[in-house]
């Protein structure tokens, strides 16, 4: 009768011992698989979140450079460091104003001076790695011609210009308010790059004026509402906000409900300008993992960088995926602890085996079986039970890993909420934060995980039996038999 035959009989005919080992191995395998599945889910979710949030680069005008250019241009107009003459050059103008307080000099700039240059934007958009881009106009106050804006009845409107604000986008889906998740379309659709003379209005504005998709809104220049030409935009969508958008300045003209999203070139027409004023550009990076490389390539583009600020726009990534970083760490700890605890428990079980089965060992040795063969039988027995355990684990692992992942995420979310409650009133945010907590992950057990778990458990068993078997290997058969008698 060879080792495997003896191992099989021992396993079958000593069910309590076998069941105990089976339970331990199932627990160790399940813990390993759950740990790996959660870790993998965490990493995948972080990647997905990063990709979904869509890290990108934001291009803004450089304020210092604007001031410098303004001064240089005014010097050219006046040929002097002081304003001594009216004039206009490269979008900068100097006007002389006679007021009750005497002569005032007014220096202004039109859209062509303040705008980001479309040529530069397109150069950056062409950099490999940039998957998409958006251009956003400045907030443009205009006069509502055929509809009524939202007003606060308690507010004195004397100093307000009585308008609404337009926000032009090349692609509304890439507008910062939309990217942050604060603005979502409730009805209709967002504005695309091919659209012309269209708008998306707030649900409050639509309700106030009983407006529907397909209706036409009229706007004109708020500085001269009586005479300025009227421009029309067709409503293609109605949006809602999670929190009100932060107004640019005080007054109902700029309040969140009165913001009207339009196509990129509509605001300049409505304010009766000939040139657009592009305030921001946003470049979405296709593969977030290539973020640094793409950013370097963008910075190497041949444009006048003194004129611009390039801003990283991936701040939410860390926040959004922070609980998953924790989950990943916990999963790692779970794997390491499982290995360590698994080793200790298995070692103790096998030590108990060798102690408790001294008689069997002694008999086999007295019958001429080699020590290695006896330890081999124990190993074979453990491996047979391991095989059976894997069967049980296969059935339980998907449910168990899902449950563990849900539990860990729930714990993380709860922790985050407790932290938020603690911080309430202590931390001031520049704007209302959008909901940033991810509530679930897709837990999947891959073939690699099965292999790793299987190999890990087998290694644990071999090592545990090897070490627990050392006393047996060191003893002489007579010593073992003496212990029996």
């Amino acid at each position: 009768m060879n080792s495997s035959q003896r191992a099989w009989r021992s396993m079958i005919r000593k069910p309590v011992k076998s069941s105990l080992l089976l339970l331990v191995i199932v627990t160790v395998s399940l813990s390993l698989l759950c740990g790996m599945a959660c870790q993998n889910a965490s990493i995948q979710t972080q990647d997905t979140t990063r990709q979904a949030v869509g890290a990108g680069l934001r291009l803004d005008g450089n304020e210092s450079n604007r001031t410098k250019r303004l001064e240089e241009t005014t010097d050219k107009i006046t040929h002097q460091p002081r304003y001594l003459d009216e004039g206009e050059l490269d979008g900068v103008y100097i006007r002389k104003l006679e007021t009750a307080y005497g002569t005032q000099w007014y220096v202004g700039a039109d859209n062509s001076f303040d705008s980001l240059l479309m040529d530069d934007i397109e150069k950056l958009a062409a950099v490999p790695g940039i998957s998409d881009y958006n251009v956003t106009t400045k907030i443009t106050p205009v006069n509502p011609v055929n509809f009524t804006r939202i007003e606060d009845p308690d507010n004195d409107q004397y100093n307000d210009i009585g308008g609404v604000t337009l926000l032009g986008n090349r692609k509304m889906e890439l507008d910062f308010n939309v990217l942050s998740g604060n603005v979502t379309v409730k009805e209709g659709r967002m504005i695309g790059m091919e659209d012309r003379d269209v708008c998306v209005i707030s649900e409050q504005l639509a309700q106030r004026n009983s407006l529907h998709i397909g209706d036409t809104l009229q706007f004109n220049d708020c500085h001269d509402p009586e005479n300025a030409p009227i421009w029309e935009a067709v409503i293609i969508g109605i949006y809602q906000t999670q929190q009100l958008m932060q107004p640019l300045m005080s007054g109902d003209t700029y309040r969140s409900e009165n913001v009207v999203f339009t196509d990129l070139r509509f605001p300049e027409k409505a304010e009766n300008e000939t040139e657009p004023c592009f305030e921001h550009a946003y470049f979405r990076i296709g593969d977030v993992d290539e973020y640094d490389a793409v950013k370097s390539a963008v910075e190497a583009a041949d444009i006048d960088w003194e004129r611009y600020d390039l801003i990283d726009r991936n701040g939410n990534l860390a926040t959004m995926s922070s609980n998953f970083h924790d989950l990943e760490k916990i999963s790692k700890v779970l794997i390491v602890l499982t290995f360590a605890a698994g080793f200790v428990i298995l070692f103790l079980i096998f030590l108990f085996w060798t102690k408790n089965r001294n008689q069997e060992i002694g008999i086999l040795l007295s019958l001429g079986f080699r020590k290695v063969s006896v330890i081999g039988q124990f190993l074979m027995e453990a491996l047979l039970i391991t095989l059976l355990s894997f069967g049980v684990t296969v059935a339980l692992a998907p449910v168990a890993s899902e449950a563990v992942a849900d539990y860990l995420i729930a714990a993380q979310v709860e922790q985050a909420e407790i932290q938020r409650d603690r911080d309430a009133g202590k931390v001031m945010f520049a704007s209302q934060q959008a909901e940033q907590t991810v509530m679930g992950v897709n837990v999947k057990i891959t073939e690699e995980m099965w292999l790793f778990s299987g190999a890990g458990v087998i290694v644990l068993i071999v090592v545990s039996i090897g070490i627990a078997g050392i006393p047996v290997l060191r003893k002489r058969p007579r010593e073992i038999l003496s212990e029996l008698s």
């Binding site: 009768m1 005919r13 069997e360 040795l365 007295s366 001429g368 038999l481």
Partner: protein, 210 residues
């Protein structure tokens, strides 16, 4: 001589100043039943262990068929030259009597169990369901399955009632005389000593002089 102890000495490593066996020499032949007698602690079981290859002497050597057994050969010696029977039967509890006998070697386990008076109805039961006498018979059957020429038994009747003990003594005599094996029995039993062909008396321990 099939088995010899030549000038063998032994002490426990924990009690180096106390010799259990002091330069003893014995020879054993096939076809005879030997009884080793002596008071407790005199080294009877130790001598049996050395003859069985379960341990090695501190001094002297054990020879099988004229050749000394080296440390390397111990497992082979136990496997092919020696059969062992213990006082406490020493059957593996998760194996049936038939399977326990199969562990011993190549002989026909069923025939052996039959010849030992173990009915077929017991062959596939748990060994724990057998009586002490039955278990000892199974142990002897296991010892006989190998084609070893030497059967060593340590107090084989120690746990048996008188009638069963006589059965076992007859069995051992039969094995020695009919099967022409060398049967060496360590015992306190006077009956067994009287039944033996040769009786070896082992005395108490002495101080080592090497």
């Amino acid at each position: 001589m099939i088995l010899e102890a030549k000038n063998v000495s032994y002490y426990y490593k924990s009690q180096r100043d106390k010799l259990i066996l002091d330069h003893v020499s014995y020879g054993f032949e096939c076809g005879k039943l030997y009884a080793i007698l002596g008071p407790s602690g005199s080294g009877k079981t130790t001598l049996l262990s050395l003859l069985a290859g379960l341990d090695v002497p501190i001094q002297g050597e054990i020879c099988y068929d004229g050749k000394p057994i080296t440390t390397k050969d111990l497992a082979e010696h136990r496997r092919h030259h020696i059969s062992l029977v213990f006082q406490s039967y020493n059957l593996i509890d998760y194996l049936t009597p038939l399977e326990n006998v199969k562990l011993g070697g190549k002989g026909d386990p069923k025939a052996l169990l039959g010849s030992m008076g173990i009915g077929e109805e017991y062959w596939n039961r748990s060994v724990l369901q057998l009586s002490g006498g039955q278990q000892q018979r199974v142990a002897i059957a296991r010892a006989l399955t190998s084609d070893a020429k030497v059967l060593l038994a340590d107090e084989p009747t120690g746990n048996l009632d008188e009638a069963t003990a006589w059965d076992v003594i007859d069995l051992l005599k039969h094995i020695a005389h009919e099967d022409k094996k060398c049967v060496i029995v360590v015992t306190h039993s006077k009956e067994l000593a009287q039944a033996a062909d040769e009786v070896i008396h082992i005395g108490g321990s002495t101080k080592p002089n090497f």
